[in-house]
Subunit: 294 residues, 4 copies
Amino acid sequence: MAKVTFIGLGNMGSPMASNLLKAGHELTVFDLSASAVETLVAQGAKTAADVNAAAQGAACVITMLPAGQHVEAVYLGEQGLLQSLPEGTLVIDCSTTAPETARKVAEAAAALRLRFLDAPVSGGVGGATAGTLTFICGGEAEVFEAAEPVLKGMGAKLFHAGPHGAGQVAKICNNMMLAILMTGTCEALALGVKNGLDPAVLSEIIKQSSGGNWALNVYNPWPGVMDGVPASRDYQGGFLVDLMAKDLGLAMDNANRNHAPVPMGSLARNLYEVHAHQGHGKLDFSSIQKLFVD
Amino acid sequence: MAKVTFIGLGNMGSPMASNLLKAGHELTVFDLSASAVETLVAQGAKTAADVNAAAQGAACVITMLPAGQHVEAVYLGEQGLLQSLPEGTLVIDCSTTAPETARKVAEAAAALRLRFLDAPVSGGVGGATAGTLTFICGGEAEVFEAAEPVLKGMGAKLFHAGPHGAGQVAKICNNMMLAILMTGTCEALALGVKNGLDPAVLSEIIKQSSGGNWALNVYNPWPGVMDGVPASRDYQGGFLVDLMAKDLGLAMDNANRNHAPVPMGSLARNLYEVHAHQGHGKLDFSSIQKLFVD
Amino acid sequence: MAKVTFIGLGNMGSPMASNLLKAGHELTVFDLSASAVETLVAQGAKTAADVNAAAQGAACVITMLPAGQHVEAVYLGEQGLLQSLPEGTLVIDCSTTAPETARKVAEAAAALRLRFLDAPVSGGVGGATAGTLTFICGGEAEVFEAAEPVLKGMGAKLFHAGPHGAGQVAKICNNMMLAILMTGTCEALALGVKNGLDPAVLSEIIKQSSGGNWALNVYNPWPGVMDGVPASRDYQGGFLVDLMAKDLGLAMDNANRNHAPVPMGSLARNLYEVHAHQGHGKLDFSSIQKLFVD
Amino acid sequence: MAKVTFIGLGNMGSPMASNLLKAGHELTVFDLSASAVETLVAQGAKTAADVNAAAQGAACVITMLPAGQHVEAVYLGEQGLLQSLPEGTLVIDCSTTAPETARKVAEAAAALRLRFLDAPVSGGVGGATAGTLTFICGGEAEVFEAAEPVLKGMGAKLFHAGPHGAGQVAKICNNMMLAILMTGTCEALALGVKNGLDPAVLSEIIKQSSGGNWALNVYNPWPGVMDGVPASRDYQGGFLVDLMAKDLGLAMDNANRNHAPVPMGSLARNLYEVHAHQGHGKLDFSSIQKLFVD
């Protein structure tokens, strides 16, 4: 087992770090929140006074931060983390950022002979806690292989999407697709119910037919159809509307730079922004169902 | 095995009738196309001079017609088929129509003590040929059960969606969802490819993640990613753009009557109409991919 | 001045009838609401026991009814109004209906040698009261000319859009365009305000530039920018969201029948339905502004 | 008349510079294209070896460049133009850029006590040639006033939208609105024509009714309805689809940063990108009409 440093102990990072401990890694953590650090220390992690100190001696450094600006702030610059790491260190950023951010950090890492991987995750807090996250990685194949043992401590599926930034691109495409199918599922169910159909029966039919999709399989948005999903607890918990809006913002930004037409994704993005404007930013993203019922 | 009459031997109806013969039913067929009738007669079916004669003596009558207007023309009116059938006959319409059409025929059937079921199918010509269609049925539970032995000769999955018209409603909702996820999948793949990703790798990642859906599972729209699908044979065959546009028209009409918001479905409908206007009406519906690539 | 019968004394019909009286026409009115009838009688109109009696002896019959179903109910059928009118009577329907309804009534009228015109209006209750409505007419040119003297008593602009039904088609196209430009104006203003611009300054700039449109000219949707418009009185009065949704329903139905792509109109329709679902159906249609602000 | 330096002699810049000469200004020009420079020199302008030399001694410097990156390259940096100008120089950027670019240049200018204005234009090559451009300005009121005499040599309308960047914001909002109303007008006309209406008659009706807008007033997109517009010369010339797509990209980027819902603008943006993908990038933007006809 490797010496690993984990930076960023938010809703996702904390359970991910916890699982690394359970997997037997020697773990040092850092976060600006003292209580988040304490919780991990109580589980057996070490800590340090700052990011650079926390990374001292690590064979692998992992970051899980809110957005690209935080990733750049931690890694780059004269006092940045990359500068303080010895050649060959494995550096894995699990944050969701623009592909450009990943490529920028990767370039700086390459100049210092560090081995960088962009490795955003899919699966939410539930997956982070259960250790069943999906990691979607961009970088060199040998670095992806080198990262596997550590990533497997936190996740169930590992994908190598392509070169640097490809992990972020694939994540963006997936989450845009997710927003599209969730919004579509919500309006299809609402249309059926307006016609008098039972949402559970209709869900089952579409799930097993050509309209089948992930939302109907495991994350039904209609209250009461499926146990244990946010829709059945007033859309509390889960993957927040604000975070979906953030990810759709990355998708729109990417489509914009590439002159790519994404009409369905754009419409989903706008509906999520309307939904957030109406005060639902802290609900689970399946609450977009509310737009389609009285 | 029952005495069955099958009316409407088009691309879907012919293989469906054929499978009823294979299942051992005593079959009489009717269609305006003499060659379509001949093919079935060569396989062992009987035929007759007109619809009403063909239905004489049948325990079960099945129709598979292009649109609601044909269904009304065959069943209703003073010379209509319903009038000529003895009480208790099982009458199954497998055409895709507006729910209102199904309810109208059902009402006329009930007045004559016939047992009617709306039973539109999902699965396309491939499913019709393989006998693996999905039947989505609306009507009374006991009529649904009575129809099962016959429907199983043509399909693999049978759903009881609810009362009369519910089969059509569920079919409409499913196909609207299908149009949404197909269009969304096409634009997500195109966005990834614009970023340099391999469409097969990206498809695999999304398929196994939260963007997973039927198109990625069995009907990938990107040429060359999946064998045996329309995308890999220049979008020939399959489920035509014109037919998807027809089904989306039924969905829009239904949403309109019910004042239901269906923004994603409406956008998909409009993109399919643009696509059809540009001369692609006779391609498979996964050819909507073309809208998103140069 | 002609003997005119006016049927349908709602929010629009009452002031229209009132203006006919002021113009010096000999007027008989009918409505199911006794109080609406009384108001007009107090102004000098006659009334009668039913529609057919009210139309007796009229040179011109005008209807202003909520929807196509009412128009068909009044005019068609064995007891219908058309049957009771003498040859040559001028029959003008000012209701907004599907073009198919107009063509159906026109055909029945032609068979009875009546002179029919579909003549939906634009201008709202304000225009009806001020006598400044726009009439958009479909029918034969000579019937249009014959109707001019009567229509001028109620409106300022008369258009001959084409043959029977063309008045309804042009009305539908105009109102779809209106929904598009109103929604677009609302989101453009909201975007500017999010950037710190003054909505009045921004409105003035766009109004005088290439984004100029009717809403910015006379019906600004941002509260406080323009005096005397619904936006400056909490969106009370004006043209109700529910009525815009009805007209957009006619547009969608027409686009559906004609396989016409109308992506912007469809999106506007869906946003209006969402807005209505959220309890704003009785506000003025410029209240769609609310969708774009916190 | 002032000593003015004009940098950027493209399709817009050349006629703008030409009009400054006609207005009597002492003009020095610079562009990388020797032939563009020569044309202006032949009209009486001076030139110089590089940007900084061209600006020497100018009371007012004007730039008209393709995009924000060129603006930053010319003005900023150690060798940038701002560094070479004496305090108090009036600096006007007429390029269309992100508001952030304008604010960044404005900040650098303020630090050097220069007087900066962002002043993007509306009116196209036609307006630039005729000297009837609209200038939409952001910056301090006194700088706006100081710029008036020079801007009036090139345009007919001057607007002060607000502080630095506000000119760009208002331009973005206007052009988004323009894309929305042009696309909407195209689909409304196509819908009417599908119903058999005459596009000229329908245009006239909507223009004078509540659907009235700039496109119907002066830039009708249906071929043959209006003389002298791009639609009547196969959509040649005018404001290119690629440029509209660029401006919509700025609008989307701005909406993204501000979490502003812009569903209609986003849809227009995506339809323009589809249209450009289909090979129409070099046609006038009113050619979006083609998406809606067979």
